[in-house]
Amino acid sequence: MRRAAPWTIGAAAALGLPLVVHDPFFLHLCILVLMWTLLGSAWNVLGGFAGQVSFGHASLFGMGAYTTIMLYLQAGIAPWWGIPIGGVVAAATALPIGLIAFRLRGPYFSLSTLAMAEIVRLVALNWEEVTNGPVGFLITDLPPVRILGTAVNWEAKEPFYLAITLLTLLGLVATYGLKHSRLGAYLVAIRENEDAAEAVGIDTVRAKVLTLALSGFLAGLGGGFYAFYFRYVDPDAVFPIALSMEMVFIAMVGGLGTVGGPLVGAVFLTAIGETVRARFQVGHLVFYGLFMMLAIRYMPEGIWGRLHRLVAGRWQGRGVAAGGPRGAA
């Protein structure tokens, strides 16, 4: 448990941040970074650990977002219940997608997830009786809540910051738990050689479906939080291909199959992306593409994986520790 200490301190510091920092723009940036960390982790569980590269995670994110906002607007269920329900709905959506896509491997798996995400987007766009079509949904007021006798101010960033911090911590803990579980070991075996994994008796379909459900749940939580924070959901906002790609890129640039990778990737890419957005309004993904290419070419283990290797190498007094991405935390 040598590693538990820095993580606990980090979590405490993250939760305490709004006591020190009050700048709304900075908190907004932190909220985005944490949301993308959660989404990157959601993708990473399936793509990084199990090696199943999905290009369709926007569909799961969008299911969470639509569930949360529709439960609130049409049934009066508050978002803090709607977000976990959104996660469950997204996990449930992931299952039929998995049953189809897991029959394919490698790039064909990726292309099939892309096609299914597009089908989901088209349904959301055209099934106007249920989804409001391209108009989408808008939350005008969040329900009044009192915590410890004070009313929560929904115009401030702090409540959203605390909510996403808790959700993201949940995502990171889930990833950590997965990594050190039997299932995590199965997934690495599947990633490295699926036929061999099957040959030694791993139920690969079961392992992949369970992981997809976890991945979908986390992506759905992220989508639910998106609806809660931005208070607006339409098909182009929550189902675009670019959103699926952003999740992939954050996990890849940060470090595939690592717990901290999506956090590092989100800090790095979101900070750059938001700077570009603030300056030029459009094209904020330009550096995502660039760093993706650089990472694949020069740093396939990602930023976190590389840092971890350097640090581990120093501790052991050797140049390079074993394993690269596999050895990283």
């Binding site: 590269v53 290009f55 189809i100 029959r103 394919l104 490698g106 790039p107 064909y108 990726s110 292309l111 099939s112 892309l114 096609a115 299914m116 597009e118 089908i119 088209l122 349904v123 766009l125 055209n126 291909i241 670019a242 790609m245 992939v248 890129f249 890849m252 030029f280 459009v282 094209g283 904020h284 993904l285 330009v286 995502y288 593409g289 660039l290 760093f291 993706m292 290419m293 694949i296 070419r297 396939p300």
Partner: protein, 288 residues
């Protein structure tokens, strides 16, 4: 009856252009096993080439093909030589992700340079459609169709009749055997990537007067493109041509007889069914 003929005609016209884009993707896959996610952005670059050619130099979009095809050929060859070549040994998933990065980079650079505005190209000679036998045929699409046939036909002859073309096909069938036969596979790969890019760009130039152009249009095109090449069997050129025409027909018939809104969805459903049940394509020639 007239509606049927009308949608058949427009389906085939659009389908020929889809086929051209699909052939570019499938040739590249055949030779170097790259599923090029940036293929749609190459079409986009062709479209903007046609737009700026007309806006800046008064060049007719259809004439500008002779400018942009060589430019994109060289551009594609350079992308292969300096960017992609080092990635290929990492496997198909790595190149897929790498070209995803390239696609996002190019699309967002275009957004920064040209903003996300929708643009159109107006041709003075093409305001009203031709009406042979009472069927409306938009003139820009008809010209594009003719040129697409010409270019795809020329490519076909090149691959079928010339030594270099045979070397491309040989590499596509078995790269190791091709090396043993004395083919410089690296050179062939570079040439093929240039060809694929040039084909995508040419299709973009030809499509530009018929579509709205904006920097992220590639995103839609690339997904259509996957449908086409998977329908025909990945790596198969005749398959991609058939797949392109088929998708054009499915979309135009679907728009009329199913629903305008769901026509894109039909393509995806067929795509999934083919991937699952006929992974080597409808004609059983692909390598999926």
């Amino acid at each position: 009856m007239e509606t049927l003929v009308q949608s058949l005609v427009s389906g085939v016209l659009t389908g020929a252009l889809y086929a051209m884009i699909g052939v570019g993707l499938t040739v590249v896959f055949g030779v170097m096993r790259i599923i090029n996610l940036a293929h749609g952005e190459m079409v986009m670059l062709g479209m903007f080439g046609a737009f700026w050619g007309q806006a800046l130099w008064g060049l007719d979009p259809f004439v500008s093909v002779v400018v942009w095809v060589p430019v994109l050929f060289v551009g594609g060859a350079l992308v292969y030589r300096f960017l992609l070549r080092k990635i290929i040994p990492g496997g198909e998933l790595n190149t897929l992700l790498y070209t995803a990065g390239l696609s996002l980079l190019v699309a967002n650079l275009a957004l920064l340079l040209w903003t996300g505005d929708y643009r159109t190209i107006n041709l003075r000679y093409a305001m009203s459609p031709m009406r042979p036998f009472g069927i409306a045929v938009p003139i820009p699409l008809a010209i594009a169709f003719g040129l697409a046939l010409l270019i795809t036909g020329a490519l076909y002859l090149f691959l079928a009749r010339t030594d270099t073309g045979r070397a491309v096909r040989a590499t596509s069938q078995n790269a190791e055997a091709a090396v043993l036969m004395g083919i410089d596979v690296q050179r062939i790969a570079m040439l093929t990537f240039g060809l694929g890019t040039a084909l995508a760009g040419a299709a973009g130039v030809l499509l530009a007067p018929s579509l709205y152009l904006y920097p992220t249009v590639g995103e839609i095109l690339i997904v259509k493109c996957f449908v086409i090449v998977v329908l025909g069997g990945l790596g198969s050129i005749p398959g991609a041509i058939a797949g392109g025409i088929l998708l054009g027909l499915v979309e135009s018939l679907g728009a009329v007889y199913v629903s305008m809104a769901l026509k894109d969805g039909i393509g995806f459903v067929i795509f999934l069914l083919v991937l699952l049940y006929r992974p080597s394509g409808l004609f059983g020639v692909g390598k999926a």
